[in-house]
Structures are given as C-alpha cells and as structure tokens.
Symmetry: C2
Subunit: 350 residues, 2 copies
C-alpha cells in the first residue's frame, strides 16, 4: 500500500479510519511542543491527542480532498488542525459539562483541576491555528485564506451551538421540538464534525471550484446521524466500549431527542416526574433517578423514536450523497468510504 496516498477501494470504513487516523496522529504529534512548561501545560495539551479517537473529522477532510482529485499532502495541515481543535473543544466541553470520563480515562479537569485544563485548551487552540497558517505554503494565499476563514467560522458555529445547549440546561427549557434539536446540533456538532471537514477537503481537492451547498446538506445529515447515535450510546451503550460515563447526558440534563420525545409524549404523571427531575440542580440528581428517567423513555418509545429518526436522517444522507459529490468523485475509493460512513455512524458502538 502506498502510505502517502492509501488505496481505500478494498478497505472497510474502519480500516480507512485507522489509516487516515495514523497519518493525522503523526502530524499532530509533530505539531505539539516538547518544551517547558511540561507538567503544567504541554503534558496536559498532549493528553487527549495521545488517547486515540475515531479520527472521523480528519478522515472526512482527507477523503473529500482526494475524492475531488487532491492529495493527502494538500489536506493534511487542515485535517490536523481540525483534529487538534476537536481535542481543544473536548477539554473545554468536559469542563462545561462537568464530565468525568473521556476516551475511557479521567477527563483533564478531573485529573489536573479546571484552571490548568482550561488553559491547556487555549494553548491547543493556538497550536491548531498554527496548522491552519501552514496552509499558506501548501495552498497559496488565495485558497489558504478561504480555509482559514472556514476554520474560524467553524469555531464560531460550534460555540453558538454549545451556548444554546448549555442555555437550555441552565434555564431549564422544556418546550423544545425535534426541529430545535436539529438546529442546535447543526451548529454544535455538524459544523465542526462533518460540514467543515468535508467543505475544506472539497475546497482543497477541487482548488476552490466545487459547489459547497450540496456538501453542507450531506454533512448535516451525516453529522446529525452521528450525534443522535452518540446520544443513544450515552443512554444505552457499554461504558467500557463507549469511553464516557453512561447516563452522563441525563445527569447533566442534556436536551436529547429522547428527552424531547418523552417530554412531548409521556402521560401526565410520568411527564411530571421528568419535569421534577430536570428542575433540580445537577448535584442533587442521582444515578438511580437517571435510570428511572431512562426507563420512562423506554416505556414512552423515546429510544425507538430516536433510532427511527436517525435512520430517516441516514436515508436523507444517502439521497444527498451523490448530488453532493457528483458521480465522478462518488465513484472513487474515497467516495466509497464517505458513503460507507453513513452506516458506520449508525452501527458504531464507540
């Protein structure tokens, strides 16, 4: 296999993720500083990148670039920046959500306190930006500028979605619909998980000539399927496999599709239980209580509803795939990989 431009035609989606993930992992390690202060900064900065993730985001970027005729070398700085920024977001999100586990181990703020962890996230943000600036050598000023603009727009979208999700919890908003959820997820998850990596990969691969709108549509469907599956795993998954604390979302009061459904459809007594649970502070919610809410969701059909909803979104992703990539790019090995990711999103257990 040619490592610089791996042939994905016969690989499964999982193998391609491993191949692309290894390339980005190496580039990420090269970009991380190895000097002082280590114990209070750069050891923390390196901690999450060293816990291998699924590499979905950088793989989307590399594959989109190649599907449109570009090379790994052209997209690697952008893919690396995306993965570094993802890790920066994880550090800050874990603080904001008061999460305990990340990729099967203690979250950074649990291990080092929130102050040093928050600061390490800021450093990682700057290091990600350095990778974005490295594009000037590879892509020239015009295209590098577009990618840099895409990057800050992506960060801003992610903070908008995160603010909405945190605001719903803090102000205990109860009258939400699946449309509200999708709107929040578009900004919180899709923009930085799927839309941005695909847009940037396609921009680079096509040298700025591709139409972005259909790619945004495909990316949105793919990202929403990813997020709904993530929410389902948090509710019903296997903790060892999933790597985060099961029922963490319910303890935080996160407005998932399942929570929105149970609030809309449960009988009045059950709904009153859910409302009372959400009305209490996080610190006074217990795991047995969260399990009771999950049982109410099972009884109300909320989990089946979310699974069906995700399948519907995945169907939309299938339908929008070829329009987004065009017959030629769709037929490449990387196009096949991108199409294969739709089902991977729904079938994954971690």
């Amino acid at each position: 296999m040619n490592v610089a431009n791996p042939d994905t035609s016969r690989s499964s989606v999982g193998e391609t993720l491993l191949t692309y993930g290894a390339l980005v992992q190496r580039a990420m390690q090269e970009s991380l500083p190895q000097h002082e202060p280590r114990a209070w900064l750069y050891d923390l900065v390196s901690a999450y990148p060293a816990r291998a993730g699924k590499a979905i985001r950088p793989s989307l970027c590399l594959a989109s670039c190649r599907a449109f005729g570009g090379s790994i070398a052209e997209a690697l700085p952008s893919a690396t920046a995306i993965e570094l920024m993802h890790n920066a977001f994880l550090i800050h999100d874990d603080i904001e959500d008061e999460s305990e586990l990340r990729r099967g181990r203690a979250t950074l703020h649990s291990a080092h306190g929130p102050a040093l962890a928050l600061n390490a996230g800021d450093a990682l943000f700057a290091i990600a930006q350095r990778c974005v600036h490295a594009n000037l050598d590879v892509l020239g000023p015009r295209l590098a500028r577009r990618v840099a603009h895409e990057f800050v727009v992506m960060v801003q979208h992610a903070t908008e979605g995160q603010a909405t999700e945190l605001g719903w919890i803090r102000d205990n908003i109860l009258d939400l619909t699946p449309d509200d959820y999708l709107d929040m997820v578009m900004r919180k998850t899709c923009w930085y998980t799927t839309v941005h990596p695909i847009r940037v990969g396609a921009l680079i691969g096509s040298w700025g000539s591709v139409s972005l709108e259909p790619l945004v549509r495909f990316g949105f469907h793919l990202g929403a399927a990813f997020q709904i599956q993530d929410d389902l795993l948090n509710l019903c998954g296997d903790e060892e496999c999933y790597g985060k604390e099961i029922l963490g979302d319910l303890l935080e009061g996160k407005r998932t599709l399942m929570l929105i459904h149970v609030l809309q459809t449960a009988g009045s007594a059950d709904r009153a239980d859910v409302v009372a649970y959400l009305g209490r502070a996080r610190s006074s919610r217990s795991l047995p209580e969260a399990q009771q809410i999950r049982d109410l969701m099972v009884a109300a059909g909320s989990i089946e509803f979310a699974r069906a909803f995700a399948r519907g979104i995945a169907y939309e992703a299938e339908a929008s795939f070829e329009r987004a990539f065009g017959a030629r790019a769709a037929a490449t090995p990387d196009g096949e990989f991108l199409r294969g990711l739709i089902h991977y999103m729904l079938d994954r257990t971690s």
Copy 2:
C-alpha cells in the same frame, strides 16, 4: 484634530490612550456579532469589551506602527484583534483565578456560570482571529502572514506563563526568586501586553524591515513594570478605582514579587505564618488572614522592595527605549507617547 491620524504631540499619555482607545472600541463593536444566540452567547461576548479598559495594548500597536511611518488604517485590524484577545483571556483568567470583580463589576462567570462564560471566551478567541485574517486585505499576503504567526505565538506564550503561575499556586511552590517571577511575567503578561503589540505595530509600520530584538527588550521592561504595579495595586490600591477585588491575589496565593520577598526575608516565625497560610486551600483563607500577610509584607519591606524593583525596571525601559525605536521614530509624537507610557505604568492607580 485629524481623527484618522490624531496628532499626539501635545496630548498627554492619558489623552492619547483615550483617542486610540475610542478608535479600537468602535472597530471592536463592529466586529462583534449582533445575532442569536444573544442571551447565552453574544451578550456575554460583548460584556467585557463594553466595559472600557485602559486600551494600553491596542494603543501600543497603533503608536508603534505610526512611529515607524505606518498609518492607523494599516494597524487597526491587528490592534483590534489584540484587544479582543485580551478580553477573551480576561474571561478565562477570571474563571481560572476564581475572581469576583472585573472593571468594577461582577466577572462573567460570577454572573452567568463558568460553562457559558468559558464558551463565550472561546467565541471571542475566534472573533479575534477573524480580525487577524482581515490583515490580508490591508497588508498583503507576506506581511499578513507574519502578523498572523506573531498572533498565535503570543497566545501560546500567554498560556505558558499562565500555566506556570497556576502551577506554582497548585503545587504550593515556595522557593522562588525574582528571576523566576520575571521569567513567568515575561510570558504571562509582557508578551501579550507589550511585546506583541509593539512588535506587530513596528512590523507593519516599517513594512517588515525593523529589527525586532531591541523592541522585545523594551517591551519586556515596560510590561514587567506594568505587572509589578498591577500586583501592588491589588495589595494596596483603592478597589473602586482599581476595579478588581483588593487582596484577591493574596487570597489566590499568587506568587508576586512581594510574596517572594517576604518568604525570602521574613523572620522564621513570620515566615512560618506565611507558609502555613499558603499551605491551606483558597476556600479556607479569610480576608483578615490575607490582611495579616499584607501587614507582614509591610513590616518586611516587601512592598518597598517591589516599588524599588519596578523603578529599576522602568529605568531599564528608559535606557532601552531609543535603541529600540531609533532616534527618528523616538522623536515622533507617537514615540513621545511610547516613552511617556513608562512613567504612566508606574503612576497609574487603575
């Protein structure tokens, strides 16, 4: 007065800060988004920028640019980015330090909770980056790239200094010297408060031709004088004028020059009191106890020591000023303003 290029020859330092501050304030307001989500994001993002600061950082950038022959228009995006990034740092630092007051009002995390405040800081970081990218139109690709690189290096230096200061507190490090303090302050404060703004202004004004090393030296002395005075105001200032809680640094256990001095010079009984105070968690330190430590500092001559140290650093700043700017730039109205800032740093009460 020509607003686009104000004449600073007869203005006092304070008036020039007001003039430049107003220009940057307007540019900052224009860069802040005015759309949803407001209550959970953009109202928070706008909160600190709306509380007028001293505008030292952007004024340094604008004045350095003009002293070397550049215009306000060329340096304004960079000056705006610096001030926005400063506000982003303030939000995150206030969370990390658990501070209660900022510019005379409640800190953002005290008013809105740490999660939404942290996220608002991330958004402000992205908005600052947008201003950096706007340089491409004003400066062309070569110079814009240098400024963008300077910007991320500055952010990284600031996180290194912040990590060191937080690490000293968390691990209760007691055997520090004034040299350790200066090394930490160079990264935590000087790089982003003085060195970066001056370097970037000079780079733009001279179109990349100026020698940066002597400017770094001047910036370091100016920034260190600024930080020592800030530490002194926190210990002995007037809260209404200063805008932060007096004795906050002592309650946090910050390793200031005064604390380092009292640990080095106090008699063994007094030193034991200071060590016992620092050995307790922040939450179990009371204001009367912090006042006792301040009294010990007064008795040990630690405050006089820090004042003298700051005067010595200011003397060095004077000595390095003309070498940094050269006779021609030093003689301009903006050169006069920059020289005048040395004494302003020591005399300020807010």
